[in-house]
């Protein structure tokens, strides 16, 4: 029981970051980006290339990949999504499906479909805890970084002026514009931040595990599950959702089968959708007939 809990901690943090990218986008634009997983994979591949091919030091590669995916997100918003404003959420959601198809193909053409192992950037030590549980340096770094990032995101969106503009633009873009907010920039920033969170999640996963093309679905798209479980409009909810999903998965993994893990996450999400659509921490305001 306790070892399972400890083992889930780092994957919980990784899920929380993936969920954070869904939550950030929903909070700032009220949309779902079904290409989130593909962007996550693209950002992670960029990081791997910066690190390995270009030989950049880890912090530089991290910042460069975050900046690159942020720019890509803002450009995608400005060139495509902005033009579809006022046409309804479904149009944009389906557009992201199209983007997903394009990015999947592009990443396969550029980086192939082989799994990659990232070179170690720090001494990975294993610490022994009571009750025969173990935790590694990577695990600790991932969970600490996640908590800090979720805290920063919460501070930014819920308490800082630019975050306030983002929430205003998400609720009513026309009124926001009439209040002097440059809505285009604000929404582009929402997309950029969301994709940065996704990329960080992908990078963290690649260190704890391997960098595989499967993470676009098994981490990026799957992030929707912890996002819904925690509450699609709650930033701290991403952390809660990540923890719940990761725990359920590791229990299913050890008591049912390894293959059942993904299904468990989606079943959990479906249950929440049916019984508590606002999630654990979300606000009770869902779209109903």
């Amino acid at each position: 029981m306790f070892p399972l809990l400890v083992d889930s901690v780092s994957i919980a943090g990784i899920y929380a970051l993936s969920a954070l990218s869904w939550v950030m986008l929903y909070r700032t634009t009220r949309l779902m980006n079904l290409a989130n997983g593909q962007f996550l994979l693209l950002g992670t591949y960029l990081f791997a290339s910066f690190l390995v091919q270009f030989g950049l030091p880890f912090p530089v590669a991290l910042l460069a990949s975050a900046a690159a995916i942020a720019i890509i997100g803002a450009v995608v918003y400005a060139t495509m999504l902005r033009r579809l404003e006022g046409q309804g959420e479904f149009t944009i959601v389906i557009l992201t499906l199209g983007l997903a198809a394009v990015i999947t193909s592009l990443t396969t053409m550029i980086w192939g479909d082989q799994d990659r192992v990232l070179p170690a950037t720090m001494n990975d030590r294993t610490f022994h805890l009571p009750l025969s549980a173990t935790i590694t340096t990577y695990d600790i770094v991932v969970i600490v970084a996640t908590i800090i990032l979720v805290g920063l995101a919460s501070l930014f969106i819920d308490h800082l002026p630019f975050g306030l503009s983002m929430r205003a633009a998400a609720e009513n873009p026309v009124l926001a514009s009439q209040t002097g907010i440059r809505v285009g920039r604000v929404l582009a920033a929402g997309w950029a931040l969301s994709l940065v969170a996704a990329t960080l999640s992908g990078i963290a996963y690649s260190y704890v595990n391997v960098l595989s093309p499967d993470i676009s679905e098994q981490l990026g798209l799957l992030g929707l599950a912890p996002a819904f479980v925690g509450g699609l409009d709650s930033i701290p909810g991403a952390l809660v959702g990540g923890l719940i999903v990761a725990l359920c998965q590791s229990f299913a993994g050890s008591y049912i089968s390894a293959g059942s893990q993904d299904a468990v996450a989606w079943i959990l999400m479906l249950l929440f959708l049916l019984l508590r659509p606002q999630g654990v921490l979300g606000s009770k305001r869902i779209e109903r007939v």
Binding site: M80, T91, P161, L175, Q178, T179, G180, L224, A263, L273
Partner: protein, 660 residues
């Protein structure tokens, strides 16, 4: 002019015998259908086996696309779970074939379709509570759950090699691996599906309710349509058909692997609908054929390029990836430039052609007729929406007695013959002219629908997402042309609007609503007060707001919202404050209070004000008034001249306008 004149008497004959027109339309159509049928029946004779194979796959896709079109295009729901329903239909059909050899395959396929329909009903159940993106997310979850279950079932029973399907037989007809036989079977299934769905959507009460629901779920539910039940029904019907497709697919390919049903496959089906055109059955079919044959196209392209050349090699090596790029790009391009798909494109094209025909037909009489008469001739042929719009436009575009008052001194703001148009060819105003002198309160009077809001919105700017624009005239601020600026630009120039409705951010607290103006955006340096200063500053004008600062703006009363909206606008340090219908929905006592506050704002802070009202209640605080009627400025002058007895008001608002 040539043969065209001969067709002029046609309307008369149509009037004499309506059936004549009907027959003329029906005959070529029936002939076209007959030709198409014969061509479809003969098609396999002209093709080789591998070509028929592609056509068979396309026909299978057509079944699924028609079903998905029912859900997405007609019921207005997005589903990304199509591959899951196919997987259910296929796996159940395979399992039945495996365990009960003696059962006819048709029963297995039907069992698969029923199983898919049952799961469809289960997924549709969230529709009783959820709509929109939440429901789409539910279908995504379903996809992964089903995909796990079918994979697991395959592993437990037949293993990685997959299901070996027996030969498909139906009433003694053994189809085996004969692509031609399959072609005819699938053709029959497609035709049956098409006719079934067309009956379902066109003729029945059910179909009308669906159409209503897809466009306006709220309106539909207000009219007594059970939207949730309809959505569940749509899920059941479409998943039944997709399950049917899955079962047939299993028999067609012979060896079934549940890994075939990827998320990419689901996206392909969505692409078929987007490319074909939402809600169009013909579009869905064409979309299905195009998307299915796409790999063939990419391969052909690869092999037709010079062999050994860099491009040819690249294409040949990346066929699957290039396919993904092509249909992904097609989705994006269609959504952006042709959102109604190929069906919409076809409609627009036929409309253009018939317009062109009409124009050539009318040409002989054209030059002699005044525009009004030309419009009248159009009335004789009001069948097309374009013609009807032209009539309406001609009738409404004629500004009757518009005036363009000249300001006595340099105005802060001047609008000249403003013409506002909305997407869909509707006009908000035709020719509104007004001016605002610095330091004054100016009143814009008019009845409901006269164009007051359109005028004020045109001055303060439209957002790109609104589909509205200034189609004529100009707006000048301090003599500078600012026509067509975005709202945030206008705020930057000191023109701030308090809109008629949706004037506060309901999800934000009162304090947050105010902080938004104090610090963010283009007037950042304007007021220069911190977040806490913002509330204090506004509380000086509206003390009632101070106690409410932690409340969500959504729970405020109408009067409180108005105070909050005006307070937020004031923090942007406006030179010109525009207030749209201050009095709307408020008690007279509250209106009086707000009016005196506005007067105070004008006198003490020197803020110039332009306000729109339906009645003359604001006349006492204004120095200048403009009266507009059906989008046209009709009168201007000092509000005192409106008369204590209100003769002018009576003549416009009382008689002329009250009727609108």
């Amino acid at each position: 002019m040539r043969r065209v004149t001969a067709s002029v008497p046609r309307p008369a004959s149509q009037l004499a015998w309506p059936g004549a027109r009907l027959r003329r339309v029906a005959t070529p159509r029936a002939a076209a259908v007959a030709v198409l049928l014969v061509a479809l029946i003969l098609l396999p004779l002209a093709l080789e086996g591998y070509q028929i194979n592609w056509i068979d796959l396309a026909l299978l896709a057509v079944i699924g696309a028609l079903a998905l079109n029912q859900l997405m295009g007609v019921a207005g729901q997005v589903s990304v779970g199509n591959a899951a329903f196919m997987a259910i239909g296929a796996t159940v059909a395979a399992a039945v074939a495996q365990s009960a050899h003696s059962l006819p395959p048709v029963l297995g396929v039907l069992a698969g379709a029923v199983a898919a329909a049952v799961v469809g009903a289960i997924v549709g159940i969230p529709a009783l509570r959820l709509r929109g993106l939440y429901l789409a997310a539910a279908t995504l979850a379903l996809y992964y759950i089903v995909s796990y279950a079918t994979n697991q079932y395959q592993t437990d029973t037949v293993g990685a090699a997959g299901w070996f399907m027996p030969s498909f037989t139906i009433g003694g007809w053994n189809l085996g691996v004969d692509q031609k036989s399959w072609y005819y079977l699938l053709l029959i299934v497609v035709a049956a599906t098409f006719l079934f769905l067309r009956r379902l959507t066109d003729g029945s009460r059910f179909g009308r309710a669906w159409h209503l629901t897809s466009g306006h779920p709220k309106a539909a539910s207000a009219m007594g349509v059970d939207v949730a039940r309809l959505t569940v029904q749509a899920f059941v019907i479409s998943s039944f058909l997709i399950g049917l497709e899955g079962g047939l697919y299993a028999y067609y390919v012979g060896v079934l692997d549940s890994g075939d049903f990827t998320l990419t496959l689901s996206i392909q089906y969505v692409a078929m609908i987007v490319i074909g055109g939402w809600g169009s059955m013909a579009g869905a079919m064409v979309g299905a054929v195009l998307v299915t044959l796409l790999p063939l196209g990419v391969e052909t392209l690869g092999s037709s390029l010079p062999q050994g050349g860099a491009v040819g090699q690249f294409v040949a090596a990346n066929v699957p990836s290039l396919q993904g790029i092509v249909y992904g790009v097609l989705i994006v391009v269609f959504l952006m430039y042709q959102p109604r798909g190929l069906a919409g494109l076809a409609e627009v094209t036929t409309e253009r052609i018939s317009q062109l025909r009409r124009r050539t037909r009318r040409q002989p009489a054209g030059p002699d007729l005044p525009p009004a008469a030309a419009a009248a001739t159009l009335v004789a042929d009001p069948g097309t929406p374009a013609a009807a719009a032209a009539v309406a436009g001609a009738a409404r575009a004629e500004p009757r007695g518009d005036i363009a008052p000249v300001p006595p001194s340099a105005p802060l703001l001047a609008a000249e013959r403003l013409r506002v148009s909305y997407s869909g060819g509707v006009f908000g105003t035709h020719s509104v002219s007004l001016f605002v002198l610095p330091g004054e309160i100016t009143l814009l009077l008019g009845a409901n629908g006269a164009g007051k809001s359109s005028t004020l919105r045109a001055i303060s700017g439209f957002s790109s997402s609104e589909g509205a624009r200034v189609a004529g005239g100009r707006v000048a601020l301090d003599g500078q042309d600012v026509t067509g600026s975005s709202p945030d630009r206008m705020v930057g120039r000191g023109v701030v609007l308090v809109p008629e409705r949706d004037k506060v951010f309901a999800d934000l607290t009162v304090a947050e609503n105010l902080q938004l103006s104090a610090r963010g955006g283009r007037r950042r340096r304007a007021s220069g007060v911190g977040p806490s200063g913002a509330v204090q500053l506004v509380a000086g004008t509206f003390p009632a707001l101070a106690a409410l600062s932690a409340r969500k703006a959504g729970v405020l009363s109408g009067g409180e919202r108005q105070m909050l909206a005006i307070g937020r606008a004031l923090l942007l340090q406006p030179r010109l404050l525009i207030v749209d219908e201050l009095s709307l929905g408020l008690a007279p006592r509250v209106v009086e209070e707000l009016m005196s506050q506005l007067q105070l704002i004008n006198e003490e802070h020197g803020v110039t004000i332009l306000m729109a009202e339906q009645n003359a209640a604001a006349a006492s605080i204004a120095q200048q008034a403009f009266l507009i009627e059906t989008g046209v400025t009709r009168w201007s002058g000092p509000p005192g001249e409106l008369g204590a007895g209100g003769e002018l008001i009576a003549s416009y608002l009382g008689t002329d306008l009250a009727g609108e």
